[in-house]
């Protein structure tokens, strides 16, 4: 490296530090504090690190570690007090996390500060740890000062730090930043500090793990999932007998799903299908679940034999008994003085279940009473087990069931439904109708009446059983609570159904119902694919073309050929010949149209020059001439303004004013408003004006006439023409004849010429206005993009003017240039660009102020966010309500053209165009949603309000990861499609 280069390099290093110091200092002035994780702090540290690394005598000092500057710090810690402090802190932090390699400050490390996300145990530490710490501790300048004054020890002699000038500059530069306060915690002022978007993104990157931004959270889908799970649970409860042994035994105990009402060991049962002849002992239990009572009997072998060898226990599983009580109609009790009694259950099908033999000790009675209470309030035993006749509420079992009595008697109890059965049925019906009815009627179901019903139900239990024993009352209360819980779950479900119906009614139009598979389409249309699709110049399989484009985009070189298809200019199935003819026609038509407006443009230009000359003349003559002349000029100019108003405000609130243009005009001229005089005066003024213009042009030829160039000889004619035009307009006899080629224009159009075109004043003014606007915007359209050289900007202007000439009713609106520009870059052909732009505008024009698509977009965004990200919706709604979504305005107006860099615009546009045939004709909504969701965590964690979000997205423009956003948008479409399908 030559000496010069080296010096230059050092100069660059110092300049970088200088720049970053300035940035940090500015930040500290404009904000209340500098955030420790601010991007500018990191950049500053990087710049300092670069300076310190340069010319470091690594080998001589034995610094071989990944970050030599950190090692250097530890080395000088022996001599410098400041370095010692920082060195100690660095080591403390490094030691606090055993997982990381030591002293690699340029790696990402774990940092124990600033954690809002507690779920992440260790978060990556910022780079340049020691420099950072030294800066925060305000020691950096001193440490570097030490290094500079002892540079000969640590640095080569041509190092930056050893340089007599640069070294001291470096340390003194850092004095400022070392005096600042750095903050790591969010203060209440946080909202007012307005960190720039990149800082927010960086903070987010630092504070969250390295994982890619989380996919959209879908609370509603989660909800659905859990709903499914619970329903599956109940299904398994009902049907399964094949639980795993352990699970099964556990299920016999009290658990969250079922209440254990009764349990007794060594109850004998002779299983029906058993080979054994003797009843075998087992565990009898009675469970209450949401769906009803269940009696289970499990052979002892299964209960105790877990730890035993695994000899074929499977047979015992077959013996196990599980009876749902709602399948049982009769309970037969056989009393036996020898044993504890036998219970036989008889099902609705008339089949007897195996007899259950109770051991002695009143267990059968206990079992039956448990059944009775368990049945309440929906069912009961008939006759009641406990005598109801006893008003003193003393428990008094049926005499026959008392074991003390010697008589052996058999009893039969019927399991009867209580009156509440009807209610249950009703509820079932309700649920059934919910499933069966179309969404709308579902929503209309009166929820209040059902809830009141359920509350009267719980009432009626108490009333029905005024003298039931306290245990039964408690049971009833428990039951009613349980039912309320269940009903709450039901209403949750109902709300979910309503929600779904909202989705269906409002959002089903946003996506196509048919879900197109994106398999094998991720590469999009490559040259090979295109060769397959396009046989002999004919493209027939448009569905496949759309599909490939939607999922994978188009190879750049093919865009020129494919975009006209996507935009509808080329027809599918057309031959090369047909397309060539079409192109020829298009070109011819374009040129014709251009010649039309070029002629008008020439007139407008001429008038402009005159106006300008007037203004300049007026400026120079202002002092000496009277009011008369300026007033006329003002009148002439204000006409333009006034026309402007007409075209702009026809839908505005000032209809009255606009309805009386004459008066407005008069007001401007300060004449009285007598309509009779109007015409006379106008003519008079025009005459005066004409004279004036002549005067100006003839006499003041030196005043800015140089620009007229070749047209100057036509001046006289032009002035005459103007007057003719104005007169024509005032007489309302405007004829629009044109078709002249522009070269002929300057000679042919004179008042005397019979074959010349005469344009109405209105037309001239309208087009002139549009022309000015177009020029203003074309001039500044994407000037920093390589394509837009002066001549290409001219093409842009031509396309724009042609469109406006053909669509004067629409007129030019800001943003149209942005829409033409990418097309022009791809086609580099004016007529094709024009034709495709016309197709594009069919959809886009509705977004502009006179259309109503924008409001629809906003409304749809509102619904989508509400459905798909309720958390975000809450934030938007609560925080100064920006659910009007104005911050998306530019996105929709320009199809994200300003949000993305050019290559991404191409990729995005073609997907938008293809999407309507594949997934959604409102794909822009999902793109917008994807943009929001990409930054949702940043938006949420910073509690952004409307201004924050506008600022954020304006600053993030052209910095998005378009591929990720597109892919997320496709996912979101699919998500909504699935939600609507309710799969």
């Amino acid at each position: 490296m030559s000496l010069n280069n080296e010096n230059e390099y050092k100069g660059r290093l110092i300049a970088a530090v200088k720049k970053e110091v300035k940035q940090v200092m500015e930040e500290s002035v404009t904000r209340k504090f500098v955030h420790e994780e601010s991007g500018s702090v990191t950049s500053l540290c990087a710049a300092v690190e670069a300076c310190l690394s340069q010319g470091l005598r690594r080998r001589a000092l034995g610094l071989f570690k990944t970050s030599s500057t950190t090692a250097l710090l530890h080395k000088i810690a022996k001599h410098s007090r400041e370095a010692a402090i920082i060195s100690k802190k660095v080591q403390e932090i490094e030691n606090s996390d055993p997982n990381r390699r030591s002293s690699s400050s340029s790696e990402s490390l774990t940092k124990p500060t600033l954690k809002k996300n507690h779920s992440l145990p260790s978060t990556p530490l910022p780079k340049y740890l020691w420099i950072r710490l030294a800066l925060f501790e305000k020691q950096l300048a001193k440490i570097i000062d030490y290094l500079v004054s002892n540079a000969n020890k640590y640095y080569d002699k041509d190092a930056l730090v050893a340089d007599p000038d640069y070294g001291s500059i470096l340390s003194s530069l850092l004095v400022g930043p070392c005096a600042l306060d750095y903050s790591r915690t969010k203060t209440p002022d946080h909202f007012w500090t307005d960190p720039p978007a990149d800082e927010l993104v960086q903070r987010h990157r630092i504070s969250s793990s390295h994982s890619t931004p989380p996919p959209v959270r879908r609370p509603i889908l989660n909800f659905r999932r859990s709903l499914n799970a619970s329903s599956e649970d109940s299904i398994t409860n009902r049907t399964t007998t094949q639980h795993l042994a352990k699970d099964y035994v556990e299920s016999l105990h009290q658990n969250s799903r079922a209440t254990l009402l009764f349990g007794k060991n060594n109850v004998l049962v002779l299983p029906v299908n058993a080979d054994v002849s003797q009843p075998m002992p087992g565990y009898l239990s009675l469970h209450q679940t949401a769906s009803g009572l269940t009696i289970k009997w499990t052979p002892n072998q299964l209960m105790n034999g877990f730890t035993d060898e695994v000899q074929d226990k499977s047979v015992f599983w077959d013996y196990a008994l599980q009876v749902r009580l709602d399948e049982i109609v009769y309970v037969h009790c056989h009393q036996d003085s020898e044993t504890g009694g036998t219970v036989i259950l008889v099902g609705q099908d008339g089949v007897q279940r195996p007899p259950i033999h109770f051991p002695k000790g009143g267990h059968m009675l206990a079992f039956l009473s448990c059944i009775e209470t368990g049945l309440l309030p929906r069912g009961r035993l008939d006759p009641p087990l406990w005598s109801q006749r006893c008003s003193n509420k003393r428990r008094r079992p049926l005499p026959a069931l008392s074991e003390t009595e010697e008589t052996t008697k058999d009893y039969v109890f019927r399991i009867a439904d209580n009156t509440t059965h009807k209610d249950i049925l009703k509820q079932n019906e309700l649920m059934d109708t919910h499933i069966a009815l179309p969404p709308k009627s579902r929503v209309q179901l009166p929820s209040t009446s059902t809830s009141s019903e359920s509350s009267t139900k719980s009432f009626s239990i108490d009333q029905n059983a005024p003298d039931s024993p306290p245990s039964i009352c408690i049971q009833a209360v428990c039951d009613s609570m349980k039912r309320q819980i269940i009903s709450r779950a039901f209403y949750g479900w109902l709300a979910y159904c309503r929600h779904l119906s909202t989705v269906r009614t409002h959002l089903s139009g946003l996506v196509n119902s048919k879900i197109v598979n994106g398999e094998g389409a991720s590469d999009g249309i490559t040259v090979e694919k295109w060769n397959e699709l396009c046989t002999d110049g004919v493209v027939t399989d448009h569905a496949e073309l759309y599909r490939l484009t939607y999922f994978g985009g188009i190879a750049h070189d093919l865009r020129k050929d494919l975009w006209p298809y996507l935009l509808g200019h080329y027809k599918f199935g057309s031959t090369t010949q047909q397309r060539m003819e079409l192109s020829e026609e298009t070109k011819q038509a374009y040129e014709n149209t251009m010649s039309e407006w070029l002629a008008v443009e020439a007139i407008v230009r001429q008038r402009d020059k005159e106006t300008q000359a007037n203004a300049i003349a007026k400026l120079s003559s202002e002092s000496m001439s009277g009011e008369q002349v300026p007033a006329q000029i003002q009148r002439d100019l204000s006409n333009e303004v006034f026309e402007d108003n007409i075209s702009d405000e026809d839908s505005g609130p000032n209809v009255e004013e606009e309805d009386k243009p004459e008066r407005t005009r008069q007001n401007t001229i300060k004449y009285d408003s007598d309509p009779e005089q109007d015409e006379k005066e106008e003519r008079y003024q025009q005459q005066q004006l004409k004279d004036f213009i002549h005067n100006v042009i003839v006499t003041n030829a030196s005043v800015d006439m140089g620009n007229l160039g070749s047209e100057i000889e036509a001046n006289g004619h032009r002035n005459d023409l103007d007057v003719v035009a104005e007169e024509n307009s005032s007489l309302d006899t405007c004829i629009e004849t044109h078709g002249l080629a522009s070269p002929a224009m300057s000679t042919c159009v004179s008042p005397a010429s019979s074959n010349g075109g005469v344009y109405s004043q209105e037309l001239l003014e309208t087009f002139g206005l549009n022309l000015h606007r177009i020029e203003k915007d074309v001039q500044r359209c994407d000037r920093n993009y390589w394509y837009f050289t002066v001549e290409n900007l001219d093409k842009l202007r031509n396309v724009m003017c042609t469109y406006v000439w053909e669509h004067l009713d629409i007129g030019y609106m800001q943003g149209m240039c942005d829409l033409v520009a990418p097309l022009l870059v791809i086609f580099n052909d004016e007529s094709l660009t024009y034709a495709c732009f016309c197709h594009l505008m069919e959809r886009m024009v509705e977004n502009f102020p006179n259309g109503n698509a924008m409001d629809c977009h906003f409304a749809n965004m509102r619904s989508l966010i509400q459905i798909l990200d309720s958390e975000m919706y809450e934030l938007m709604h609560s925080h100064g309500d920006y659910t009007h979504f104005y911050f998306c305005y530019r996105w929709f107006l320009l199809d994200f053209k300003r949000e993305l860099v050019y290559p991404d615009v191409y990729a995005t546009w073609e997907v938008i165009w293809a999407a309507q045939h594949v997934a959604s004709s409102h794909f822009v909504l999902f793109l917008a949603l994807a943009l929001l969701e990409t930054y949702r965590d940043i938006i949420l964690s910073n509690c952004m309000d409307f201004t924050d979000i506008i600022k954020f997205f304006n600053e993030m423009a052209e910095r998005h990861n378009a591929a990720a956003v597109l892919s997320l948008a496709r996912d979101l479409v699919l998500q909504l499609q699935l939600l609507i399908e309710n799969k």
């Binding site: 209340k32 600042l180 007012w192 400026l619 333009e640 303004v641 702009d648 203003k776 800001q814 300003r898």
Partner: protein, 208 residues
């Protein structure tokens, strides 16, 4: 080192398209000039905190699309504005004439007591001037507002313009506060005051 601001002022820039609103704003907020700006679509804003009589004032300046067609979207921002910069281009007569329309827009959409100011931008282009300084002054007098000719490109009086507007807003605000019951404060002004306003700044009001 760290300071809090005392007031938040919302300002708005309006005027015909191409008069240099975005450039004026860029000059004020970043002290730079950029020739590659494209037309503003929708809305944007920039922030700068300034110091006035010892008060930190945060200026939130909204930049709007110039074309009148877009005013349905831009007028939504008139309402919250406390100060409005009306900008015209001294080399464009029409943009000056249209100031009348913009003022009418303000009257229809902004709050009645919004501070206004007239800026004649691009004053470095003296050779292309179409609107004399006198006419600008006269128009300003007509509407009872202040007038400054600025140049975002040459950095002429842009700073002064915003400071003047901010000072006027501050003065008006403090006057209003004094007129009403001082401890309670005016209704409208309260919104713009930060909640944690510590000092009894009324006693130090120097402008009145």
């Amino acid at each position: 080192m760290a300071k809090t601001y005392d007031y938040l002022f919302k300002l708005l820039l309006i005027g015909d398209s191409g008069v240099g609103k975005t450039c004026v704003l860029f000059r004020f907020s970043e002290d730079a000039f950029n020739t590659t700006f494209i037309s503003t679509i929708g809305i944007d804003f920039k922030i700068r905190t300034i110091d006035l009589d010892g008060k930190k004032i945060k200026l939130q300046i909204w930049d709007t699309a110039g074309q009148e067609r877009f005013r349905t979207i831009t007028t939504a921002y008139y309402r919250g504005a406390m100060g409005i910069m009306l900008v015209y281009d001294i080399t464009n007569e029409k943009s000056f004439e249209n100031i009348k329309n913009w003022i009418r827009n303000i009257e229809e959409n902004a709050s009645a007591d919004v501070e206004k100011m007239l800026l004649g931008n691009k004053c470095e282009l003296e050779e292309k001037r179409q609107v004399s300084k006198e006419r600008g002054e006269q128009l300003a007098i007509e509407y009872g507002i202040k007038f400054i000719e600025t140049s975002a490109k040459a950095s002429i009086r842009v700073e002064e313009a915003f400071f003047t507007l901010a000072r006027d807003i501050k003065a008006k605000m403090e006057k209003k506060l004094e007129a009403s019951n001082p401890p309670k404060g005016g209704h409208q002004l309260k919104a713009s005051e930060p909640q944690r306003k510590p000092t009894n700044w009324l006693s130090r009001c120097s402008l009145l």
